[in-house]
């Protein structure tokens, strides 16, 4: 009804008419696949029918439906993460034509214009691959824990309204609060490198969890977490534990790891002023360190 393709054959061979009349009736994709965590990776090519306004998600949906590689072999569908498909949930980050971005807002027409015929899909390289394009981004959320990215309220009971906040402060905070933890800033950051912990046979889940967290903490915490620390240190209640956040930001893997490549701000899909946050955090760290030195 809404779409005429009512059989698998239609999906594969492209019932959708190509309005542009161009030769582009198919989309070719090259996917870097990996069957299990820690397994070998390999390339596989796919071909799906072209439709106007397609994005990478709809390409992957078609691949899932046909479950065949370009040469006609039956293969398992490509695994990938996605949810909202409107660039607010942060799920579908992957390397598309070598660049980190959200699959939902990556339009096939534009990708073909930039890379020619074949679109290349790879999993993010800074996180352990779970399968195909699915990666384990727990380290990213650990970063939010580390910098205590929350307002330390005294319970959730009704204690009246929050603090008054000027429109300027709100406008300053709002963009930072739009961070959807997609991980683009981390993927593109040359200072952020992969940390992978593998559970040992003799290790309990709790012990492994602990070991993994401390492994995460040795690496760079990344632009997203620094920006969240800045966001909450600017909030009237949030800043009541500003020192704890500064302590976290100046521990191993803290703000000092930033190398000022400024890729984070260039690849951020929400255009969050991350380098401004980093510089502000840098200033706060300077003041905090001096205070610590002299107030001791």
């Amino acid at each position: 009804m809404i779409k005429a393709a009512d059989s698998a054959a239609d999906l594969v061979h492209g019932a959708g008419g190509d309005d542009h009349g161009a030769a582009r009736s198919v989309v070719r994709v090259r996917v870097l696949r990996q069957d299990v965590a820690g397994g070998e990776s390999y390339w596989e090519r796919f071909e799906v029918s072209y439709e106007p306004n397609m994005n990478v998600i709809s390409v992957l949906q078609k691949i899932a439906a046909q479950a065949r590689s370009q040469d006609g072999r039956k293969v398992a569908p490509v695994a990938w993460d996605c949810n909202c498909l409107e660039e607010v949930c942060g799920s579908c980050t992957m390397l598309i034509n070598g660049r980190t971005r959200m699959a939902c807002s990556a339009l096939v027409d534009r990708l073909q214009a930039e890379s020619g015929d074949e679109i290349e899909l790879r999993p993010m390289s800074k996180f352990p691959v779970v399968r195909d394009l699915v990666v384990d981004r727990r380290r990213l959320f650990r970063g939010l824990e580390k910098v205590k990215a929350w307002v330390p309220v005294e319970g959730s009971y009704d204690l009246g309204p929050g603090p008054r906040i000027s429109p300027e402060e709100q406008e300053d905070a709002y963009p930072l609060s739009e961070c959807m933890s997609c991980g683009c800033c981390l993927e593109a950051c040359p200072q952020y490198t992969k940390v992978e912990a593998v559970r040992r046979d003799d290790e309990s889940e709790a012990d492994f969890e602990k070991r993994r967290k401390s492994a995460f903490d040795t690496g760079f915490v990344g632009a997203h977490a620094i920006s969240q620390a800045v966001l909450f240190n600017a909030h009237p209640t949030g800043r009541m534990i500003a020192d704890e956040r500064m302590e976290a930001l100046t521990r191993q893997g803290g703000i000092q790891m930033c190398g000022n490549a400024q890729n984070c701000v260039a690849v951020c899909p929400k255009r969050i002023p991350l380098t401004r946050s980093i510089a502000r955090a840098g200033r706060a760290a300077t003041v905090w360190a001096l205070k610590k030195l002299f107030d001791r």
């Binding site: 698998a8 439906a65 695994a79 993460d81 000027s166 429109p167 402060e169």
Partner: protein, 663 residues
């Protein structure tokens, strides 16, 4: 169980609100979610969250009026005590979210700013830019993360809820879930299980909902015996951007700023829309509703756009239904200033500049008003009794439902900016109930190890059976698409009994065909293929109850529109004739109310076929009255109705019955 423990399924606004409050009450929480909770569908809500506030109060607003707007907007199909309680909690909830750091837009004085939304006269809606849902969700996510660090909450992200576990007495004592990475099964023992798993838009194929909104968790609870309420009430948003993968919302403000809706008079005119002359365009909303033009109410806009494409066959495209929403006559600077953000979304996903080329839009399934039937306990003041074990409890004792997946707050139609409120409210409000359940079940706790083992085996068996199906001739993705297309055609905007009957049979056949679905991935590691196939199988029972509920409900109410049963306006022009027709109209309305002002309750029968019954609605606070928006002769009907209402009130007072006595 030594420690009180609750299993929360779903980490959207409702699930996180419940988790936060439970942790605060000292209850340990296992939080299971298909996706990292920060990525839940709540992030998609844009507009805002309603509550009475200091400003509107001085303009005559009150919690009572919020209640009134909500039940009137919902065509009186919801029990009123829970709605009253929710409206009463509104201001507290906004204050709380404000304290949690939600960057609400501010007035120049630094107070929260509010805007006006549909269905009310007051500026009740607090908002944070165009991403209020995202901001609210993040605030709760942050608090839950804090509790996670404290050790009160354990998150199980990328886990799928497979079904509740019921003990010998039929009480829910836990659930079986599956790790979507390792595909391992695990039974979670819990004093109570609460589902906060959102809507089921994927039953309609593509909708404005996220990919996790399959409704599978709710369906599994339903198939385990929980009742489902008001399934046929599905909200359709008039303007969404059709995409190959999903339908993305296009804010109503595009029409508010002067956007015009049209189609070419020649079906599927392939010319560039800008080159089609005015005379060959049909501005059908302006033609049919000269008074309101493009700004007719949502449901009417939805119906007309749908109708012009399906009945008149004037869709802009052949393969894909859509009409033009045209802003190109408005100066670019004006557009950038007033609509910049939303036009960027269109450009981002369509690759077309809507300032230059008319947008293509179509209505899209947006929200499930229906959901798991839940109980409540009314208080003496007409609201709810906090902490009662009955609040938000499904028909399975020990199993609770909150948020979009319950049926309780929005009746036949949801008002804009009320969903965020109902989610947070039901989440916070269920927590003391669950804490009390923990206290009560601590005494009665038994050893369920063997029960859990048996349930795990059952689910493993089903899983293995699916994996073994490699030879079937059905493709789950294609079948899903067929289901979605069918449901979209017959069970969204306009409903006809012949179509519904036919569609019901068709869905039954699809459910049979599903049994022949072959999985293309037989592995046991992050097997999204089998997880989807499983979820698809669980869509059919819900699809059936939606269709059956819609088929049986021979009336028009809220989002449920059946032209064959609509009540036409008045035809007489003279005052006397008008009055007499109005009286007849009111008689018919009262008769219809007596017959149909009832919740549809579905129970899952054999083969996933629903058994439908009806339950009376508690309208003790605000008596039902007709919704007359745009109806011919509406003022005459209103006058007649008011006279009746006054008479009825007089009689009630004469008998000395206090209105709204507590149950």
């Amino acid at each position: 169980m030594a420690q009180p423990r609750v299993l929360v399924v779903g980490g959207g606004l409702a699930g996180l609100a419940a988790t936060m409050r439970l942790a605060e009450l000292g209850v340990n929480v296992d939080l299971v979610s298909l996706v990292p909770v920060k990525r839940s569908h709540s992030v998609c809500a844009q507009g805002g969250i309603n509550s009475v506030n200091a400003l509107t109060r001085q303009q005559g607003d009150s919690e009572w009026k919020h209640l009134d707007d909500t039940v009137y907007g919902g065509d009186f199909l919801q029990h009123q005590p829970p709605v009253k309680e929710m409206a009463d909690w509104g201001p507290k909830i906004i204050d709380l979210m404000d304290r949690l750091g939600v960057p609400f837009n501010r007035t120049s004085e630094g107070f929260r700013d509010q805007r006006r939304f549909g269905g009310t006269l007051y500026k009740r809606t607090a908002f944070a830019g165009a991403t209020t849902g995202q901001q609210l969700l993040y605030a709760l996510d942050e608090q839950v993360r804090r509790w996670e660090v404290e050790g009160k909450v354990k998150k199980w992200e990328f886990w799928d809820f497979l079904g509740p576990v019921l003990d010998e007495a039929g009480r829910c004592c836990g659930a079986v879930c599956q790790d979507l990475v390792t595909m391992q099964f695990k039974a979670f023992a819990a004093d109570a299980v609460v589902l906060a798993t959102g809507g089921n838009g994927l039953i309609y194929g593509r909708s404005t909902m996220s990919m996790v909104c399959t409704g599978s968790a709710v369906s599994r609870a339903y198939q385990a015996g929980a009742c489902y309420g008001n399934g046929e009430f599905i909200q359709v948003h008039p303007t969404a951007i059709p995409g190959a993968d999903k339908l993305r919302l296009m804010s109503e403000s595009a029409r508010g700023e002067g956007g015009r809706v049209w189609v070419p008079r020649k079906p599927q005119d392939q010319r560039d829309p800008r080159s089609i002359p005015e005379a060959e365009r049909s501005y059908f909303l302006e033609e049919r509703y000269p008074k309101y033009g493009n700004l007719v109410p949502r449901d009417i806009a939805t119906r007309e756009i749908f109708d012009i494409c399906t009945t008149d066959g004037l869709s802009v495209e052949k393969d894909r239904l859509c009409v033009y929403l045209d802003l190109t006559h408005i100066p670019k600077e004006t557009l950038d200033r007033k609509l910049g953000g939303i036009l960027e979304i269109y450009e981002k996903f369509q690759g077309v500049d809507p300032r230059v080329t008319p947008m293509k839009i179509f209505p899209a399934v947006h929200y499930s008003m229906g959901g798991l039937w839940v109980d409540y306990q009314k208080s003496a003041s007409g609201g709810l009794l906090e902490g009662s074990l009955r609040n938000q409890q499904t028909s399975l004792p020990g199993l609770y439902a909150i948020g979009e997946c319950d049926y309780q707050y929005h009746g036949a139609n949801r008002l804009g900016a009320n969903s965020l409120l109902s989610c947070i409210f039901s989440g916070l409000f269920v927590a003391p109930t669950l804490a009390n359940v923990c206290g009560a079940s601590a005494k009665a706790a038994g050893d369920h190890t063997r029960l859990f083992d048996a349930e795990i085996r059952r689910h493993e068996e089903r899983h293995r059976e699916l994996l073994a199906r490699t030879a079937g001739d059905e493709n789950p993705y294609t079948l899903h698409q067929e289901l979605g297309n069918l449901m979209t055609r017959v069970a969204t905007v306009v409903r006809r009994n012949d179509q519904l009957t036919h569609a019901y049979d068709e869905v039954c056949r699809m459910a049979e065909r599903w049994k022949r679905c072959a999985v293309s991935d037989t592995g046991n590691w992050t097997n999204q293929n089998v997880v989807f196939t499983k979820a698809l199988g669980d869509m059919f029972p819900i699809a059936k109850l939606i269709l059956k509920g819609a088929l049986l409900r021979d009336e028009c109410r809220g989002a449920h529109f059946k032209p064959a049963f609509s009540m036409p306006g008045l035809t007489a022009t003279d005052p006397e004739g008008k009055r007499s027709e109005a009286e007849q109209w009111c008689d018919a309305f009262e008769a219809n109310t007596r017959k149909w002002l009832k919740s549809t309750i579905a129970t899952c029968g054999p083969n996933g076929d629903p058994e439908i019954s009806y339950q009376d609605i508690d309208t003790s606070l605000i008596p039902p009255r007709p919704r007359l928006y745009g109806l011919v002769g509406g003022d005459a009907i209103e006058e007649a109705w008011k006279d009746r209402a006054a008479k009825a009130a007089g009689q009630a007072a004469g008998k000395g019955q206090p209105a709204g006595a507590g149950a």
